[in-house]
Structures are given as structure tokens and as C-alpha cells.
Symmetry: C3
Subunit: 107 residues, 3 copies
């Protein structure tokens, strides 16, 4: 079985910004994402993720090529880390039919 | 602490096929799974995952030995990739008490 | 882009113990966690995770330094593996601004 190395980018943060991040991920080259509701608790600078009575917290996952992963992580870091309770991480994954995770140019 | 290397297989797709995939994963050697509801968005060939007003999307995770992971991924790919909006990926994980993830023969 | 290697600890188990595990993870050094509801099915010794009509199953994720990951996994294993339906695994992740995942002494 042929497996293709890709990256899984996971972003957890306040729901108010997560729809934007999902769309921005697509603009940066992701071909899709999955999003789910979580209860978050954190000690991030700005405020707690999902602190008592707080806003809904969402988790987004993108499976993308390495360069797109870095672009998404850099974008999220620059745009949101300072003012929002958000965390993001990257991990290695393998998929079958890897070409489906790369957007065709002109597509 | 002794850690055992295993594989995490994640499958995200339309709920109509996910119960079957869960059962098929068990038949192929997984000793368990966890399933959760997600909002999916993708550009897969057949149709979008969870497209506007579309069906519920589910995510299933199996923690399994490497050979079982390959069997599940191959099965999912062969049976579902062509006709359903589904993505699947593999990643490396470590567990304690790894023997509990391997089915005993005759069990 | 500077990325820092950390560990993702994932624990899936009966909701009755998951709030405790979340708090214990924080005491052991995690700076946060995210928690979500899943449907679990397993063949663990004690009982099935989320077996028919059974209790709610929760999944907790901690992103932590390696030593904290080992402490959480060891704690969960020692305290809960014998009597509860619970599984836990570890994987490698990378984050930006890794210092935010390490608790300051005296904090």
C-alpha cells in the first residue's frame, strides 16, 4: 500500500474566530477540514479557552501538505495568538491517494 | 515507562457508512474505536463532506497494530473512496499495555 | 518558522472519571486541555467503553512537554486502567511558541 506523508494541523479556539480560520485554511491551500465542538480549558495569555460560562470552543483539523501546514500555522499565529485564546499544533500523518489533498492549479 | 508503538487510524465521512466502517474495523482486528460527530467540509470527488444542509458527518478513531491499520485503510479505500465523501489517515501513537490492542486468537 | 516538539496525550474513558483526569493533568503540569464527547466501543477488561445504554464517554487531549506526558500517562495507567474502561495514547506534535505549554515555576 502506497502511503503519502502529509501534515495534520489542529487548531482549538473560541468559536467566534474558527469559521474564519476554516475559510482561511481553505484559501491557504487546504482542500477540506473537519470541525467539532470541544470544552476547552487553558492558561493562555489573553483569556481561558472556554472559561466558566464562556464562549463555545471549536476544534478544526486540516490534512494538508507540509508547506500548506506551515502557512496555516504561521497565519493563525500571526493573526490570532495575541488576542484570542487559541492553540494550534502540527503532526505527521499518512494518507492513501495523497494527490487529493493538493489543490490543482487553475482548479 | 514501557510504551508500545501502535497506529491511530482516523476516518471521517458521511454517517450513513460510518457504522459499517466501525464494525468492519472490529472485524479486521481493532479491539475498539471511538466515534464523534464533526462538521466536515471537503472537495472530494464524489461530493462534499457535510455539504450545506447535507448529512451528518462522523469521525472514527481506531488504535491498532500496524498490520491492522493497513488492512482498515486498504479496506476503506477500496470500498468507499470512489463513491463516498470520506477521508482517512494514519499516524504513529504510543500506548501503555500494548497487548490490550491486539486480539487474542480464539477470543 | 520555529516549531517546538511536544506530546499530545489523548485519554478516552467514562465521563465519571474524566473531569478528575482533566484536573489531575493540570496538577501534573499541563497548561490546558480540550475535552469532547465521543461514542466509545471497546473490549477492555473491566467493561466496554460506552457499551449499549452505557455511560457517556469523553475524550481529553493535553498538549504537553514529554516529561509531563509520561507523568499523565503513568498516573492514568496506575489509577484507572484496572477498574475503568479507559484508553490513553501519546503522539508527537509540534507547536509554535512552545514556552506557553510549560508552566512557569512559582506560577
Amino acid at each position: 500500500m502506497q502511503l503519502y506523508p502529509l501534515k495534520l494541523v489542529t487548531v482549538v479556539g473560541e468559536s467566534v474566530i474558527m469559521e474564519d480560520i476554516a475559510e482561511e485554511g481553505i484559501k491557504l491551500g487546504a482542500t477540506g477540514y473537519s470541525m467539532s465542538e470541544v470544552i476547552g480549558h487553558g492558561s493562555r495569555s489573553a483569556r481561558n479557552v472556554g472559561e466558566a460560562g464562556g464562549a463555545k470552543t471549536l476544534k478544526i483539523e486540516f490534512v494538508v501538505p507540509s508547506d500548506v501546514a506551515v502557512e496555516i500555522l504561521t497565519h493563525v499565529s500571526h493573526e490570532y495568538f495575541e488576542h484570542y485564546a487559541i492553540i494550534a499544533w502540527l503532526s505527521d500523518v499518512s494518507v492513501m491517494r495523497g494527490e487529493q489533498y493538493t489543490r490543482k492549479s487553475g482548479g
